[in-house]
Assembly symmetry: C2
Homo-oligomer: 194 residues x 2
Amino acid sequence: MTKIAKPPKRQIILEEAAKLFKDKGYGGTSMRDIAGQVGMEAASMYNHIKSKDEILDSICFRISDVYIAHLREVEELPLSFGEKVRVLIRLHIQLMVEDGPAVSVANHDWKYLPNARLTEFTTARRQYEKGFAALIAEGIAAGEFQAVNPTVALFTILSAVRWVELWFQPGRSLSAQELEDHIITMLLKGLEQR
Amino acid sequence: MTKIAKPPKRQIILEEAAKLFKDKGYGGTSMRDIAGQVGMEAASMYNHIKSKDEILDSICFRISDVYIAHLREVEELPLSFGEKVRVLIRLHIQLMVEDGPAVSVANHDWKYLPNARLTEFTTARRQYEKGFAALIAEGIAAGEFQAVNPTVALFTILSAVRWVELWFQPGRSLSAQELEDHIITMLLKGLEQR
């Protein structure tokens, strides 16, 4: 008989903690709540993870690492700027759909990171935003995009994909795939018929 | 000598309260804070306004009334659907720029309204969203807009304009007019060149 490998305990703790932080807030969640959710004694949970700070840190930096790794990958791909922006928009929506609680924590609770890590996190976020805005600016320079302000274009995109967090629930009439397609149509082609 | 009419006291109280709610949160602001900001004794402020609840109510419903009145007006105007949507987007951005603290309170602090008024407020908001989505659906039916899901189109628009709250500050390199133009280009024409 083969055994199906269970995710390691640490990963389960991080996943359940993200759900609790999302539902009850970071401040409103205790290590005891997390242990209860995972079904462990608090004392034995400390073998896997030291503190709530460590949990928050792992969640926030895992998400920001995913974004930055994808951006670096997309920058190197032999694609048009429109395709590159499409790939990044799809990544945002897919991460939200598949990893919702962690994305939500990285979006909202990063401000509770201890000081040094807070600076590192906001630097990483700025680096991502700068790289994404640069792709837009290059697309404009190449004549592929409209002559919009790259910052306005970037934040229109980031706001639109962030809203998915509030709205998407599995079982809604629209699938994640359709949601991606319609948001991409709005942002890349615009509401008006060509 | 002519006297320049000063805004009535009640209006000054509402404006200063909105700024305090925005900066310190609704829960974090006391009637005493508001009186201090306006430069009145708390006791004499009660001649103009009864409670913090009344202030919140006045701010939230003034803003939602403005949105609904404009929607009703736009619905009757002899314009294309594209023009109608442009008028509504401009309204959102202008309100944010000119009446920022009140818009922020109506966006975030409405949840502290007492029960009966809370229901009235969320009903008004749903009515606005429904009317705006209907304009989009009619524009699609008329062949003027892309065949996107009207709800996705609506919330892409509303998210994009709401972000202005976090970003726009007088003195930024982009004027309010330019911001409007670029957001409208993104949402109506899309990032990609036609």
